[in-house]
């Protein structure tokens, strides 16, 4: 029962990817109808960093990191490796040696629904990681999985080439074919937010800006 490696995947436009990354997870997630967010157990090992890139997906058995070596050969500049184990696992699939190799291929980050190790080194190297665990526990290389097939990672479906946006708030997946449309919606939100932020900063109330008072009274809110 062998695995598969899909070698030629399509990726989203690099400019769209960059702009989605600048907008950040909360805005992008909102803009695409509140879908694609990974579980909040997916946490960064570094602080105050946001990235975006194209997903190279990895389906790996629990406790077996062999397919990461296979995936690294498929990486292009600006890619993000996304690993979903075929069963829950918090072992440390990834450390500084694999990061060295991935960075040499242009990889921007790892998103993994499992553990990583050498976290201090990874931060020092500037290799970004979002994971659901930190663990020194090593893995084996005994069973094949697949690369660039659809996977589930921390509750989100990821297809190869999808856009991954990740920051301190978590990780969001934007389907490749929708990336441009989502970015258009994102831009509208960003434009609107600027003006609102200014008014709120001056002390004006959301109650007035968003004209909420009447609707609140209609729902029965009373003041004492």
């Amino acid at each position: 029962m062998g695995g598969r490696v899909v070698q030629n995947i399509e990726r989203a436009d690099t400019d769209v990817v960059r702009r989605l990354g600048e907008a950040g997870v909360a805005t992008v997630h909102e803009a695409q109808g509140r879908t694609g967010l990974m579980a909040s157990t997916m946490r960064p090992i570094q602080q105050d960093l946001g990235i975006a890139g194209s997903a190279v997906t990895i389906s790996a058995p629990p406790g077996d990191n062999w397919m990461i070596h296979v995936a690294i050969e498929q990486l292009q500049e600006g890619d993000v490796m996304v690993l979903g184990p075929t069963a829950p696992c918090d072992m440390g699939y990834f450390g500084d040696l694999l990061a060295t190799s991935a960075m040499a291929r242009g990889c921007r980050a790892l998103v993994i629904d499992a553990g990583v190790r050498d976290t201090r080194d990874l931060r020092a190297m500037g290799f970004a990681v979002w994971s659901t665990a930190i663990s020194a526990q090593g893995t084996v290389k005994e069973t094949v999985g697949s690369v660039n097939v659809p996977i589930v990672c921390a509750g989100a479906l990821v297809n190869p080439g999808d856009v991954i946006v990740a920051d301190d708030d978590g990780v969001c997946v934007i389907p490749r074919t929708r990336a441009e449309a989502v970015m258009a919606t994102v831009q509208k939100r960003l434009d609107a937010e600027g003006a609102k932020r200014e008014r709120l900063a001056s002390g004006e109330l959301g109650l007035d800006i968003y004209e909420m008072r009447e609707r609140l009274a209609g729902k029965g809110l009373t003041y004492e």
Copy 2:
């Protein structure tokens, strides 16, 4: 089934609030008989920061942040918003726009038994947050709740105007009417601690300072 907004609440003396904040959560909690501590799932999004303020309480439905807009109008300089959802929820009720608005009204911090988002921005803005989750998942504005009513937040009862002390160790609630008395006890502990710290730093043992040896032997402790 409408909600209520109580508009004129009493607050504790600002000097007492400040001094409770300087003492920190561990000392204050100890001084008031080990009561009022929120669950240890309540964690700061920033590090090495301690605050204290008067509670403006928010009772909100799960996944609905409408009442935060209502609460912001009730804020005074030095207040801390405290939100307890009526059912467990880890969605992101609060982000940088609401923080902008709250800061414009003098709000010092948010304590929320739910999620927040835009955490990088919140740290950059200097708006302090303690929450039980970080999540980009947005909320709706459909159902009213109440402001400045008694709430339960992360296992602690909070009445409007109670003093909230929060730092890296967690969050503690001091009933408004007991604030001064608790601060008096806190001061005694602080005075006593200084002398003890010096003796301990010089290598003297707690076993001797606190005269524990006899009591330990009486309980059957033996040395080999």
Copy 3:
């Protein structure tokens, strides 16, 4: 039913301890056959710090920190206190006063399967801590336990004098009598890693360095 304090314990060679610490948890754990790792719930309160030392063990009742005072008298330069409660407990056993006392005796760190408090102060003092909780909740001094007896801490057996290595990846226990042998294996791994890191950094693939291609094909991996 009194407790026991074992006063003269053997420790590993200080140079071996230092070198194990420099190698770090992931490497050491791997080198000793993937044993001795504490659960991944054991987390540091500081970032980017690694330590190693000899274990002074503490078996304490839940919610009772009396034995820490007893243990401090047994500390020598370079020791690490390791506390396992006799039942699960997340209360704050340890704060800045005890740290002051422990540091005065040469103690390097605390590893505790329970909570600590005053974490900001502990970081400021440079006292390293790995714990399974942070909580301001204080403990009592009513029941005796034991010092320097075998304990279980976060799932790992710790004998007094064992070597403790701790960093951002977690905490690993190396039996005292095996420390030198483990360090020899560690050294071999470190020597091998240097060369590999260089080849990987230059873009060479693990698939080629480790000669994996044939074995992967044998397991049925196919490329599309």
Copy 4:
């Protein structure tokens, strides 16, 4: 810093209590505006049993069950003991001996945000329990707490004399003074449900009974 025992508390009408119990947690919680529900970590140790009674509240230190003895003297026929520890604790506060004593005083059930033990015996005795843990770990009797004061239990505020309704879905608290009004609302829901159940059982759709089709289309739902 002594505790308090409030001896004469008011209770709700026994018939109202009984009827609330028959309605069950889901219906009662819905009827009182979705408030008062304890966290879903509060689970029964028996299956397919529902009860209701008047709360005798216990505020107890973590790992100390002394106040249960004090509370038992305050019990009346039909009461439910509700214990909230002043800090999180999963130790076994309660077993078959205390249950024997409580049953002799007419107590109907225990609701405890902590652990219980002797669960097999408790089931055999017919003493109902909802708890957040099962643990054989015993507690001490060293520190006083309070009986019949307001407490927080599993996230819900409980005042002495409040009505407790508990079944397989969890535990709900109905403020004593609102019990009758809530029961009136409950009755309306029950009356309405009977008719609906019959229509649904016959195959009629909720889409039609609740006239949802137009509103769904208005929100943009499309059929393919």
Copy 5:
């Protein structure tokens, strides 16, 4: 941003579905290469029951059960409703009224990565449920989602018409197009197991039946 309802989905052969159900989750999961298993947080509300059916999928917002009404119209005899919320949620989406309606349409079970309520009634009605929570907390009907689109449920990808096998060990998803092939593999395993069970029951050892002794010795296992 409206949702979609796909009305005509293909289902697997009913006889294959039935046989997969009889084989049970552990065997089926093993036979399809250890894929498709939902997280172990997915637990049954009843004991000692196994089922199988065709998935009618529901993508629903957190805390909003409106789409269950929409999905019920799409049910056929032998279907299993599978609901994945677009964000984590433990509220009670489903109770006895909806079960009455679903059963009237031939529905066999509900699999939901969220909460259910009225669990005692559901057991009494014989409606099978696997859920990740039990909670009396009700949901609203404000936002549309989709029915019979691909969803992620408890970490597993589910397409409409996929075969769902569920029992005390959890829930497994078998892609509709692979159902027959998986069943063939399952049958081979079942045939082989019968003979092995007999030999093991007679006291023969797995070490001998599976000829493990030599391989164990080769890996360095020693007897003392």
Copy 6:
């Protein structure tokens, strides 16, 4: 780096084992000074069953159940297999085939800090299990571990031949060499409990039986 199998282990007196089992976990744990209790995450897959036996210990890699086959050869009538993985793992190590084999060798139960599967079959066969997870996820047979060496299981140290007592309250380990002494203490507790239960059942209060009133008043408890 091979594993070890220790073949001739000592066991406690069978009569003492039986009597410890009849006393149950809560009583035995209390009697041996509140030590040896496994974490409360260790739960039975059956209800209302208590057992006791001699530990055959298994140290196994995460996700690898090979050593269970090796351990079964070492089983004697009345033994309990106790498995602690060398890293946290919730995969299903054990199912009905292994249970068939273990029962044929006289094994009474399995205690495992990991997952099991085929739980319905195991209950039907009358093979008792305490585990920290239920999962259909299978394991591999690639790496050797050890049998009858000291292990840590769910936080408790277990030496081969130790007495295991398990029931609905959890699992407790009694060191083999202390079994008889612990049983003597247990017997005293049981004798004392009988009389107390009778007095409590007649309505007499613990406050009076244990003469607590004076001590409570001395600690400051007041009645209102």
